[in-house]
Symmetry: C2
Subunit: 250 residues, 2 copies
């Protein structure tokens, strides 16, 4: 399925503002202001300046919280754990603190997550950061019954291109696994076709080491990307004719 732009001018707009440069600006801005995110349960609160608000909105990190507080210079954002940890551990431009104002280091954070019923989090985070590092915008896919949806640029310009399901042989995520039965696969593909997304299956696999996935060992794991799509003999007369193909999305 090809990229679907929302307006005629959208592609030109997107080319004029590559996502990588907007993310670089966000990173600089957050680093310079010594940003702190407050860890509250399974989300993170962050007070953004006017500039940062614009950059967070343009890069799809978190969602603004509407509050009674009337402070024009400060906008509260609620970040998901994937988003906050990506900003803190991968982009290294935000510090996460707990309610007692003590900073939470990566390992503490990880333990907190494992204990708080988010045992599947490491695998989801690996997949999330894998896509983000390739400058895809990643949002929750719960609306379509998948883990994430991936956009090539801002959702105001382009429709989500991929519906992403994350699989792994690690821990909890190996149980109750998606796409384990034909009827589940049929259901997912039919839905993806209906909402004009391509199904992207990310398989998080261990490359080396015997310990479980954690924040300091993200590189021990690789992500295998598989696009599942209907084979169209007219469109693909030159390839091997595989219904399931493996492709790199960059």
């Amino acid at each position: 399925m090809s990229r679907i732009w929302k307006q005629r001018t959208a592609e030109a707009k997107a080319l004029a503002e590559p996502m990588s440069s907007t993310i670089a600006r966000l990173k600089t801005s957050l680093t310079e202001s010594n940003s702190q995110g407050l860890l509250l349960g399974c989300s993170v609160l962050f007070a953004a300046t006017t500039d940062q608000t614009e950059l967070l909105l343009r890069t799809c990190f978190g969602r603004p919280i509407i509050s009674a507080e009337n402070n024009k210079d400060k906008q509260w954002f609620q970040l998901s754990l994937e988003e906050a940890i990506y900003l803190s551990s991968i982009l290294k431009c935000m510090k996460l603190v707990r309610e007692n104002n003590k900073s939470a280091n990566d390992e503490e954070l990880w333990r907190h997550l494992m204990l708080s019923n988010k045992s599947n989090f490491p695998v989801l985070f690996k997949a999330y950061s894998h896509l983000r590092m390739k400058n895809w915008l990643v949002k929750s896919g719960s609306q379509y019954g998948v883990d994430f949806v991936a956009y090539r640029h801002h959702p105001s310009l382009v429709h989500a291109e991929y519906a992403v399901i994350v699989l792994s042989d690690e821990g909890e995520s190996s149980k109750n696994k998606r796409l384990n039965s034909w009827s589940d696969l049929h259901c997912t593909l039919r839905l993806c076709g209906g909402v004009v997304k391509t199904l992207l299956v990310l398989h998080v696999r261990r490359r080396k080491g015997n310990d479980g996935l954690c924040i300091s060992r993200l590189d021990d794991y690789i992500v295998e990307e598989r696009v599942v799509s209907r084979w169209n003999p007219k469109k693909r007369s030159n390839d091997g004719g595989e219904g399931i193909e493996k492709e790199e999305i960059i």
Copy 2:
């Protein structure tokens, strides 16, 4: 979701020809002609007379096979195993024979199925016969990633009302179970909404005895019916407000 008729006159047509009486006529016709179905792998072949052809088409049993054989009095039908065993073991109007022309009794048939990679068959058959006995027309649901779809009358008159998923704690069907993760449930519900079907989950449970489900012990098992639908407070202001309800479809 209410029943959706395909034409304005469809409901009157359906009321004039209740499915139960058409099935009764099929049963009489097949019994009187000592019908024999030929078991070939995972389907059954049956040569129908002109009358039987019409009745089989109207009750959605099997599908006619187009062949070079030019015999106006005989039409070959391919029946699925569920359909053939329902006709032979529940309606008792068809005898199943194997290639060597020996008749296959129920237990032999069941063993054949268990050996031929259809280990989930007993549970699917229990669900299939449960719906058929209530005069629903049941067809494969693979198009929508579910086990069956159920029609209140012939598909030429009415759209399928229910998308049916069969669950069980028995044998193979307890593994790789559908609807075990939220994302699978979201996906299925979103698809059902899109194709205007209601999700019906049939849970096949053991009532008594310790042996596995087989054709002679169908009554030891009960089918729990659950409809999963979005709760609409406007439509259901008088009930308890449960998003998941249990209802009997007759």
